[in-house]
C-alpha cells in the first residue's frame, strides 16, 4: 500500500534550512498496523503528513496504492486522499461549528454523495463508535474520549483503506486511551491499514510493527511479538 524510497523533506526559511526527514525507506502492506515512534522533532508528524498526501517530499519517491505521488499537485493529492485515507489527530480536530453527525459526514460531502447515502453511512459509523445518541451535540459538549470516538467515526465513515493516527491518545486519560486503542485494533482486524505515531510504548504494543525515527532517519524497525489483540 505504501512505499517510500529515499524520502527527504527539507523546510527552508530565509535564515535556516531544516531537514525533517532524510533517506527514509518504508514499506507498509495492506492490513498492517504500524507504529512510528521517536523523540519530539524527529520527523514523525512530517512522515505522517507525507503518507497522508498532505505534503510532498523534497526528494525521493512515495508510492501510495501503486501511484507515484511524489510530485503530485495539491489538487491531485486531494483527489487521491478522498475516500482512501482517514485521519485521527491528537487534538481530535473536530469542527466546533458542526454537530457530531455533521463532522462525521464531512468526508462523504466531499465525495459528492447524496444526502440519503451520507445519512446511512454516517449513522453506521456513529453506531460503530457508540456515539449515535450524541449525533446532534456539538464537540464542546463531549468529553475527550467521546470526541476522539467521533473523530474515528469520521476517519472510517468513507471506508478508508488507510487510517493515519497522530498520537490518538495524547490528550486522553488512560481509560479513554485504552478504549481508543481497542477501537483501532478492531478496525485493523477488519482489514484497515493503520499507521500510528505515538510516544507511548503501551500504545505501540497494539501495533504489529514499530518503526523508530531519530533526527529524520529510520533507526530501527521491529516486528512486535505478542502485540495486543
Amino acid at each position: 500500500m505504501i512505499q517510500a524510497k529515499n524520502l527527504k523533506k527539507v523546510y527552508s526559511t530565509e535564515e535556516v534550512e531544516t531537514t525533517a526527514l532524510n533517506n527514509v525507506n518504508i514499506e507498509i502492506k495492506e492490513g498492517e498496523f504500524v507504529a512510528i515512534m521517536g523523540p519530539s522533532g524527529c520527523g514523525k508528524s512530517t512522515l505522517l503528513n507525507i503518507m497522508g498526501l498532505l505534503d510532498n517530499p523534497s526528494d525521493g519517491e512515495y508510492h501510495f496504492l501503486g501511484h507515484d505521488v511524489s510530485n503530485k499537485t495539491e489538487r491531485e493529492r486531494a483527489q487521491l486522499r478522498k475516500g482512501n485515507i482517514g485521519f485521527i489527530f491528537q487534538s481530535f480536530n473536530l469542527i466546533d461549528e458542526l454537530t457530531v453527525f455533521e463532522n462525521v459526514e464531512l468526508p462523504l460531502l466531499y465525495l459528492g454523495m447524496s444526502a440519503d447515502e451520507r445519512k446511512e453511512k454516517a449513522e453506521a459509523a456513529l453506531e460503530r463508535m457508540s456515539m449515535m445518541h450524541r449525533r446532534n451535540h456539538f464537540p464542546q459538549q463531549l468529553s475527550g474520549g467521546q470526541q476522539q470516538r467521533v473523530a474515528i467515526a469520521r476517519a472510517v465513515v468513507a471506508n478508508a483503506k488507510l487510517i493515519l493516527a497522530d498520537e490518538p491518545t495524547g490528550n486522553l486519560d488512560s481509560d479513554h486511551g485504552n478504549e481508543v486503542m481497542k477501537v483501532l485494533a478492531e478496525l485493523n482486524e477488519q482489514g484497515t491499514t493503520i499507521v500510528m505515531v505515538t510516544h507511548s510504548p503501551h500504545d505501540a504494543d497494539y501495533a504489529m510493527r514499530v518503526i523508530h525515527l531519530f533526527d529524520g532517519h529510520v533507526v530501527t524497525e521491529n516486528m512486535q511479538e505478542g502485540f495486543h489483540v
Binding site: 498532505l54 486531494a78 485521519f87 461549528e97 455533521e102 460531502l109 466531499y110 469520521r154 468513507a158 497522530d166
Partner: protein
C-alpha cells in the same frame, strides 16, 4: 452542499457576533449611502425622460463671439425661428417656443396675487412635451390668445372646490385670460417648470414677434422625425436663415432634451433652478464608490486577520477531502450571506433616511425606483458583485492554506499583513481627503458670509414693486418709510445688488473696438447711504437735470482701474454717454464666484422705481415689519407685499455650495464611522491574538501605558501614513474647486494639521478602549488559557 455552506456560514457569523456586527453595520451603511446616491443620480440622469418623445426633442442653441471677444452659448432665439424651421426643414415635425414671465400680478375675482413660473409658449407645447391634461383638450386649450392653462396645484390654490374651467384671470390689471385646461403639475424631473401657460403674443410694443433681428427671447424646441439625424438638421439651419437674420459668427446646435439638465452651459436658462452640473454626478458617484469600497475593505481586513482562527477548520476539511474550490466557495458563501443581509438592512436604512435627505438638501427624491423589479434584479447582481469583490481575496487566502503547514502548528502562516496595512492606509487617506474637503468647503462658505461685500446687507429690507400700480405708488410708500423712527434710511432703485441685473456695453473711447461690459443700475441719491457703500472720490448723485445731455453717474473702483485712472482723476471724466461724478469702493453685486465687474449707477430720475430698500434699526425688527405691512396695505391695498432681506438674497447665491458642504459633512462622518469600525475590529482581534504576549510582558514588568502603546502604535503609524498620502491629493482637489471662485480662501497648513491631529485622536480613541482593556487584563488568566 449549498445548504451546508449556508448552515456553516450562519453558525460562523453567529459565533463571532462582534465581527459580524461590525461588518453588518459597515456594509449596510456603505450600501445604503450608495443607494441614496443612486437615487440622487437616477433623479438627475432621468430628467425629462418622462416625455414620450424625448428621444426626438431638441433645443436650438447658438454659440457666438460676444462684443468683448468671449464665446457665449445662448438658447434665446428669434420669435420667427420655430416656424421657419418647421416650414423649411422636412425632418422637423413640430416646433415650439417658450419664454418665462417674471413675477406677475394676477387678479382673480377681487383678489390680487403674484405668480411666478408663467410659461409663454405655443399650442404645440402639448404635442411635443408630455404634460397630461386632467381637464380640457390639449389640442384646443391654447387655440386662442386669451386662453390660459393652469397646473392642478395652482388651480387648487386659487379655485379650490370651484371648477376652474371658464374662470377669468387678469394679468397686470389689463390682460384677461380664460381658463381652458388643467394639466398635471410638471414632474420634479422636468427642466420646464410652470404654474400657468399662456400663448406668446403676436406683437410686443407694437412690433411683430415674427420680425427678425430685434427680439431674441424665446427658447426654441423642435421635434424631429425618428429617423432624422440631428447633425444633418443642424447643418441646414444657417443656410435657411441666410438673409433673414444677422448670423455673424453664430454656430447653431441642436441640444438633446435629455442633455439639458446636466450639460447645459447657456448664459441664461428659462428655469435655472432646474439645471444641474454633470460634474456633481461624477463627484457623487466617485464618493459613493469610495464609501462602499471602505466598507468592503473592512471585511477583507477583518476576514484575513481572523484567518488564523479558521486554520484548524481548513486543515480538517482538506484532510477530509475538500479541494481548494470547495473551501473557496464556502468562505465566499459567508461573505455573500453577510452582504445580502446588509443589503436588506440598507434598503430599510434608505426608507428611513430619505425624507431627512430631502429635507436637508431641499430635494424631492423618491425611493420608488429602488422597489422596481428591474432595479431589484440589478441590485441583487450588484450585491453579489460586492460580495465577490470583498470575499474573493480572503476566501482565496483561507482556502489556500496547506494542511501540512497547519498541522505542523506553523504560526507564521501567511496573514497578508502588508495588504491589510495598505488597506487601512487607503481607508484613512480617503477619510482625510473628505475631512479636508469638508473643512475647506465650510471655510469658503464662511468666507462668503463674512467677507466685506463693500456694502452692508444686514437689516436691509428690499421691497420689489412687481406691478405698474405698485411702481406708481413706490415713491409714496418710500416717504412713509422715511418717517419711521426704526428705519434708518430708505432708497429707491431700478435694480439691486444680488439680482441678475442688466449689462451695458460701454465704449469709453470713440476708436475703441472692444467695449467694457458694465453692470448698470438706476438709483436715487439715498442709495449709497442706505447700502452703506463707501464714496471714495467725488460726490453723490443729485436729482438730475433732465435738460442736460450728459448723465452723471457713480462708478465703482473697477471702472477706474480699467481706465487706468486714480479715483480722483476719474471725476468729471466721460465714459461713453456718461460723466463720472463719484467713485465708490468696489462692492459685490454678484456671487463671490465672479470677480467684481465694472458697475455704473445712474440716476433713477422721474422713473418709477422697481425696488424700495429700507435699512431697519436692529431693535424691534418684527414690530417694524408689522408696521410696514400695515402701511403697505393702506397704500397698496389689494397688492401683496413682496419683500426679501438682502442678506438672505446674497446667501441664496451660495445655495449649491451650502448643499455641497452639507453632503460632504455627511459623507465625511459616514466614512470615518466605517473606517473606525474597521479599526476597532482589527484592534479587537489583534489584542486577542496577542493575549499571551501581553500576559508575558505584564509579568515581566510592563505598565499599562507600555501595553497600550505597544498595541496602538502600529495602527497610529498607518493613520499617519494615510494622512501623508492624503495631503497632496486633498491639496490639489480643493485648489481645483476653489479656482472657480474669484474670491476665495487661501488653503492653509492649519487645516491639514487640524485634520491630521483629529484623525489620529479619533483613531486613538477608537482603538484605546480595546488596548486599555487588554492592558488591564490579569496576566495569570491570559497565560493560563494558553
Amino acid at each position: 452542499m449549498f445548504r451546508n455552506y449556508i448552515k456553516i456560514a450562519l453558525r460562523n457569523l453567529k459565533k463571532d457576533k462582534g465581527y459580524t456586527l461590525i461588518n453588518l453595520i459597515g456594509l449596510s451603511m456603505g450600501i445604503g449611502v450608495c443607494l441614496i446616491i443612486f437615487i440622487f443620480l437616477q433623479f438627475h440622469l432621468s430628467f425629462d425622460s418622462f416625455n414620450k418623445k424625448a428621444a426626438n426633442i431638441y433645443r436650438v442653441t447658438t454659440s457666438e463671439q460676444g462684443p468683448d471677444g468671449d464665446f457665449r452659448s445662448t438658447g434665446s432665439m428669434e420669435g420667427a425661428l420655430a416656424q421657419t424651421l418647421l416650414d423649411e426643414i422636412p425632418e422637423v415635425r413640430a416646433s415650439v417656443r417658450a419664454s418665462r414671465y417674471g413675477k406677475t400680478l394676477i387678479t382673480i375675482g377681487n383678489e390680487n396675487f403674484y405668480e411666478e413660473n408663467i410659461l409663454r409658449t405655443d399650442p404645440s407645447l402639448f404635442d411635443i412635451f408630455t404634460f397630461p391634461f386632467s381637464q380640457g383638450d390639449p389640442k384646443t386649450a391654447l387655440s386662442d390668445k386669451s386662453n390660459i392653462v393652469l397646473t392642478k396645484s395652482v388651480a387648487q390654490k386659487y379655485f379650490r372646490e370651484q371648477n376652474p374651467i371658464g374662470q377669468e384671470i387678469v394679468f397686470n390689471e389689463r390682460n384677461r385670460y380664460i381658463v381652458t385646461g388643467i394639466v398635471e403639475d410638471p414632474p420634479a424631473q422636468s427642466h420646464i417648470n410652470f404654474s400657468m401657460v399662456i400663448n406668446i403674443p403676436d406683437s410686443l410694443s407694437g412690433r411683430s414677434i415674427m420680425d427678425w433681428n430685434w427680439l431674441r427671447s424665446f427658447h426654441t424646441y423642435v421635434l424631429l422625425d425618428e429617423q432624422a439625424s440631428p447633425n444633418d438638421v443642424e447643418a441646414k439651419i444657417p443656410s435657411i436663415l441666410e438673409g433673414k437674420m444677422a448670423l455673424g459668427n453664430a454656430e447653431f446646435h441642436l441640444q438633446s432634451l435629455t442633455d439639458i439638465h446636466l450639460k447645459s452651459d447657456l448664459g441664461w436658462e428659462l428655469f435655472p433652478e432646474r439645471i444641474f452640473s454633470i460634474n456633481y454626478i461624477y463627484l457623487f458617484s466617485i464618493v459613493g464608490i469610495f464609501i462602499l469600497l471602505i466598507a468592503c475593505i473592512n471585511y477583507v481586513n477583518l476576514a484575513t486577520a481572523r484567518a488564523t482562527t479558521r486554520l484548524k477548520e481548513v486543515g480538517v476539511r482538506k484532510a477530509a477531502g475538500a479541494q481548494q474550490g470547495n473551501l473557496f466557495w464556502q468562505f465566499t458563501g459567508e461573505i455573500l450571506l453577510l452582504t445580502f443581509t446588509s443589503a436588506v438592512f440598507s434598503l430599510g436604512l434608505v426608507e428611513l433616511l430619505l425624507p431627512y435627505v430631502n429635507k436637508l438638501m431641499d430635494l424631492q427624491l423618491s425611493s420608488i425606483v429602488i422597489w422596481s423589479p428591474l432595479f431589484i434584479t440589478g441590485f441583487i447582481s450588484f450585491i453579489f458583485l460586492i460580495g465577490i469583490i470583498s470575499g474573493t481575496y480572503p476566501a482565496f487566502i483561507l482556502s489556500s492554506f496547506k494542511p501540512a503547514e497547519i498541522f505542523k502548528g506553523n504560526g507564521k502562516l501567511l496573514t497578508s499583513e502588508g495588504l491589510r496595512k495598505g488597506l487601512v492606509v487607503f481607508q484613512f487617506s480617503v477619510s482625510m481627503i473628505l475631512i479636508i474637503s469638508t473643512i475647506i468647503i465650510d471655510q469658503q462658505l464662511t468666507y462668503f458670509q463674512d467677507k466685506n461685500l463693500g456694502l452692508n446687507t444686514e437689516q436691509v429690507l428690499n421691497i420689489s414693486l412687481e406691478s405698474t400700480k405698485t411702481r406708481e405708488l413706490g415713491n409714496v410708500f418710500l416717504e412713509k418709510l422715511a418717517n419711521h423712527s426704526n428705519i434708518e434710511s430708505v432708497s429707491a432703485s431700478g435694480d439691486l445688488p444680488g439680482n441678475s441685473g442688466t449689462t451695458l456695453y460701454l465704449y469709453p473711447f470713440e476708436d475703441q473696438e472692444l467695449p467694457m461690459p458694465a453692470r448698470y443700475m438706476s438709483i436715487d441719491p439715498q442709495f449709497i447711504k442706505t447700502m452703506e457703500m463707501e464714496l471714495i472720490a467725488g460726490t453723490n448723485l443729485t436729482i438730475p437735470n433732465t435738460k442736460s445731455e450728459q448723465i452723471s453717474v457713480i462708478v465703482n473702483e473697477t471702472v477706474v482701474k480699467e481706465m487706468g485712472w486714480k479715483p480722483d482723476e476719474a471725476i468729471n471724466q466721460r465714459l461713453d454717454r456718461f460723466v463720472i461724478i463719484g467713485v465708490v469702493k468696489d462692492f459685490h453685486f454678484e456671487s463671490l464666484e465672479q470677480e467684481i465687474r465694472p458697475a455704473v449707477m445712474a440716476p433713477l430720475g422721474d422713473a418709477n422705481p422697481d425696488y424700495i430698500s429700507a435699512r431697519l434699526s436692529p431693535s424691534n425688527i418684527s414690530e417694524t415689519m408689522d408696521w410696514i405691512r400695515k402701511e403697505w396695505d393702506t397704500v397698496a391695498d389689494s397688492y401683496p407685499l413682496q419683500f426679501t432681506f438682502m442678506d438672505d438674497t446674497f446667501e441664496s447665491l451660495y445655495r449649491s455650495e451650502e448643499r455641497l458642504g452639507i453632503l460632504f459633512t455627511v459623507f465625511c462622518i459616514i466614512t470615518i464611522i466605517i473606517a473606525c469600525l474597521g479599526l476597532f475590529g482589527l484592534m479587537a482581534f489583534m489584542a486577542t491574538k496577542r493575549t499571551k504576549e501581553i500576559g508575558i510582558r505584564k509579568v515581566l514588568g510592563a505598565s499599562i501605558v507600555d501595553i497600550v502603546t505597544l498595541l496602538s502604535k502600529d495602527f497610529i503609524k498607518l493613520v499617519v501614513l494615510g494622512f501623508v498620502i492624503a495631503i497632496p491629493i486633498a491639496w490639489y482637489a480643493t485648489n481645483q474647486w476653489l479656482a472657480d471662485f474669484a474670491y476665495r480662501i487661501e488653503v492653509s497648513v492649519d487645516i491639514f494639521a487640524f485634520t491630521g491631529i483629529s484623525a489620529i485622536l479619533i483613531s486613538f480613541f477608537t482603538i484605546s478602549w480595546q488596548a486599555i482593556k487588554s492592558a488591564l487584563s490579569n496576566p495569570v488568566e491570559s497565560l493560563k488559557s494558553e
